[in-house]
Symmetry: C2
Subunit: 350 residues, 2 copies
DNA sequence: GCCCGTCATCATAGCGCTACGATTTCGATG
DNA sequence: CATCGAAATCGTAGCGCTATGATGACGGGC
């Protein structure tokens, strides 16, 4: 009996867990001569701690090199200061710009970004959302409005703020920031038509997967009614200059007297420009070219590229703003969508 | 017995905390008819749970829509399944490719990426590392070998595995994957020299901040000794086609009889190509151009761009491999550095 | 001098999960 | 059929922090 008890006690005592931290908040508290609660309070709301105590705590933190443990904090507070972001591709300059802007805005607020890319697959997106939710994130940012049923359910059930970006038009899960790609496509068509182009083509890359590129193609085709003869030509590979060269070759072959081109991406337009140089097709005289994206090189091109600017940076800023406002307690139905529009940047190519 | 329980319940009663979770592991365990430990074990090492129990648990998870809480898991396990990655810029295609590859590799292992960009500032890098460490990450991946003293100290003290990528040459904190930029610069010079170019220039963007671009410039200049007259021209803005156009204009003005150019980035080379088209300077006949990066458009250019491929994807793969091996228990001194080298891709421009 | 409101600080009880060691189960063996 | 070892399962004690409600300290008004 007594033996057993002693043995049990001994067993319990020998139980050791590896700590993850060398310096904890408690140690800071001890050194500062306050309680851990006060240290925690100081870290979260410095204003509600007296100046004297605050100074003491700050000194102790500095002296000990204390690094707060957000994992423990997140558990205790029932929610972490991380935001999950899922984009189709990190390598796509559009999303890179947006993610970059969001990260900047968040860094100031101490929010971390959990990033994933889905390769335009709803299945992968779902897996990424699932992982992100495992982190009890403060919010989740997705690209576009098309998601698997399971993704939507998961998100709704979790109650986490959700922002869908880069697309507007269909119903959003929670909040949305973006613009209508249909309209952007229509803008391209109208611009070409205004330049007297009547036999035009839309060159798309990966439109089976990229619903937004597909929407631009649709908008382009729809706006052509009675204005011009429009065809849509697609390439299954990701947008690239190479795809552009291939697509323009096919367009030239397919459309007799082709005189205008809209591309789903400036990279594709760049390929068109290169291929036209090779074939000595004058841009814009014989062929007008409109891009999409207003990527860095668009202005330096020969000729400078007329393109549609989606303003990925503004999208990023607005996404960050919505998330931040929600975190600061804005009502769930405060502001649901932001239309960032699109801008036709007219240069020389069309 | 009953009284005690009641008393305890009474004391606790008024205290309420908001739960972060609707479905917990305990509920899964109850439904599956096993203990929480077994569920946890199943989730981490399915092989060490009997097939029958495993099936039951899987069914319960599915039925309840259970989403594991990695925040709690991370706290209990003294370390999370997140990896902090800091790159100078997400918008830079080099790093985008590497991060993209790393993310793919990690997704399969259930590792999350915490991403930040430092804008080439050691101060910002330090802040990002500090935040990342707050997440008790499984590893931290940094770009380059130059970091603030505080960053190095922080990292060393934390004991977290560190991989520095995209650069080799100086001492690494822990592990490193990359290549010598000095050598890459030398390769560019040697290639130009082999083509008989004797009056050459290196066009760099942002070399005060981008130490790697600076190293390429140095390697280029050093290799020129006795081979050619080399100058280095720099532009303070980030690499872009526009910068390329500006730089080549300055180079042409500065160097009489200029016949060879190496660029710190394919984007800069693209600007050079455009500007030369405008000025009717024949590439490569009058001016040979070597880029860096082998970005998507390099092969479609007019003329196709001779460039140096740094293999950002291979770097990403190797980074992921080193991290994964370390997590699986490889010794801290198992393998420290991986040289991914660089590859001259000869096309038509030089 | 007493009461009360305000502000700063504190003690405590978990957040949901995992590691550890203990315990049980079960087939194989002598 | 008892014995043993391996495999499967379980009970428990935290991981480090924050939210909550309680306590103390202080000052103004009566």
């Amino acid at each position: 009996m007594t033996l057993e008890k002693a043995a049990a006690a001994g067993a319990t005592r020998s139980r050791k867990r590896r700590k993850m931290q060398q310096v904890t908040m408690t140690e800071v508290a001890v050194l500062a001569g306050v309680s851990p609660s006060t240290v925690s309070l100081f870290l979260r709301k410095p204003a509600s701690v007296s100046a004297a105590a605050g100074q003491e705590i700050a000194r102790a933190i500095d002296r000990l090199g204390y690094v707060p443990n957000l994992v423990a904090g997140g558990l205790a507070a029932a929610g972490s200061r991380a935001v999950g972001i899922v984009v189709p591709s990190i390598q796509n300059a559009f999303f890179a710009e947006t993610v970059s802007t969001i990260q900047e805005q968040f860094a100031e607020e101490g929010l971390q970004i959990l990033l994933g890319h889905s390769e335009y697959s709803e299945r992968q997106e779902e897996a990424l959302v699932r992982t992100a939710l495992s982190w009890a994130p403060a919010a989740i940012v997705l690209t576009g409005l098309s998601h698997s049923r399971a993704t939507r359910d998961l998100l709704k059930k979790s109650g986490v703020p959700v922002v869908e970006m880069w697309e507007l038009g269909a119903a959003a899960i929670d909040m949305a920031v973006g613009f209508s790609h249909r309209e952007a496509g229509a803008t391209a068509l109208r611009h070409l038509a205004s330049k007297g182009r009547r036999r035009v083509a839309f060159l798309g890359a990966r439109t089976q997967e990229d619903r937004r590129a597909a929407a631009r193609a649709e908008g382009f085709a729809a706006a052509a009614q009675g204005q011009a003869t429009a065809v849509v030509i697609n390439h299954p590979a990701p947008a690239s200059a190479e795809a552009g060269a291939l697509l323009i070759a096919r367009a030239l072959q397919q459309v007799e007297g082709l005189d205008g081109i809209a591309c789903s991406n400036d990279m594709v337009a760049l390929g068109v420009v290169f291929e036209c140089q090779r074939r000595a097709i004058a841009i814009p005289d014989r062929l007008a070219v409109v891009g999409f994206g207003d990527l860095g090189f668009a202005a330096s091109c020969n000729p400078p590229l007329t393109t549609i600017r989606p303003s990925g940076d503004i999208i990023g800023r607005e996404v960050a703003r919505l998330v931040l406002e929600r975190l600061r307690g804005a009502a769930r139905d405060r502001e649901k969508t932001v239309d960032t529009g699109h801008l036709l940047v007219e240069r020389r190519s069309a």
